[in-house]
């Protein structure tokens, strides 16, 4: 069982996931540090990610894009805030424009991950902190199929009519 628990907090707009892997913290760390490994898991199964830049040092930035089933692209970026190998990372994760560069008027979400050795593996706790609903919708929509994005949009309409 890889995923141990997930915690969603709609008040603070955070998601926390705890997962355990049958590998040392150093090896789990490598799937974040090595861009060729990172791009094998960062994108959803049908939206593989490609990292064109991954400067894994404090202050260093990354650029990536995810390619959808119809060849459509979503662009994103990271900036590393904390790197404490192999224990902890903290990074900004933002939405990028068509040119692949950060959108200046769109503040990033913050990602946190910690890695703790357990008896025979590593416990990884990853948390994402969003700033507001609009940002969360935009970020989550990055790898979302059109139909699903529309379904989410429908919720607005439903809730508005339900509360009348």
């Amino acid at each position: 069982m890889t995923v141990i628990s997930t915690t969603k907090d709609p008040e603070s707009l955070t998601l926390t996931i705890v997962a355990e892997f049958d590998a040392t913290p150093e090896r789990v760390w490598s799937v974040w540090e090595d861009p060729r490994k990172l791009e094998r898991w960062w994108g959803p199964p049908t939206y593989p990610a490609t990292f064109t830049r991954h400067d894994f040092v404090v202050g260093g930035e990354s650029r990536y894009f995810m390619t959808g089933p119809a060849g459509n692209r979503s662009n994103g970026w990271w900036q590393m805030k904390v790197i404490d190998k192999p224990n902890r990372i903290e990074f900004a994760n933002g939405f990028a424009g068509d040119d692949g560069e950060p959108m200046p008027d769109m503040p990033p979400a913050t990602g946190f991950a910690t890695f703790v050795a357990t008896g025979d593996g590593t416990r990884m706790t990853a948390m994402t902190q969003f700033l507001d609903l609009a940002q969360m919708e935009m970020m989550i929509g990055m790898g979302m199929a059109e139909g699903m994005a529309q379904a989410i949009g429908q919720i607005d309409v439903l809730l508005t009519s339900a509360s009348v």
Binding site: W41, P69, L133, I140, M142, A162
Partner: protein, 120 residues
């Protein structure tokens, strides 16, 4: 976030299902009016506490209400559209991270083999 997600299990379906029942719509209206306990709600219907609690649970799964334990009482309050939407979005994001964790496990298993291959 996940493209091949089963649509029958979406949040929209849960909301439709929750609102398809007259009693549940009534419970939701009462909760919107003011927060109240499950037992206070049960007194207003000709049905058991357990039955009312089941209806509340359906509304809760659709993120339309939140249940909170206060002493011996369970208080039901209506979620504004903002909270309901936050929950729906976090559900999508949760699925993305579950997929990510499983993909990490696969990458680790594969790099295991590659490293073993290097040694042989």
């Amino acid at each position: 976030m996940v493209v091949d997600m089963n649509l029958s299990d979406t949040d929209v379906d849960r909301i439709f299902q929750a609102l398809s029942d007259r009693t549940r719509r009534d419970i939701l209206e009462r909760a919107i009016d003011r927060e109240q306990s499950v037992s206070a709600m049960a007194r207003q219907y000709d049905m058991s506490f357990a039955a009312v609690q089941k209806h509340v649970a359906v509304l809760e799964r659709a993120a339309l209400v939140t249940k909170e334990r206060r002493g011996r009482e369970q208080i039901v309050h209506a979620n504004g559209p903002t909270i309901a939407k936050a929950i729906a979005l976090l559900d999508q994001y949760e699925q993305l991270w579950i997929d990510r964790a499983n993909q990490i496990a696969a990458v680790l298993a594969q790099s295991d083999e590659e490293e073993e291959g290097d040694h042989s």
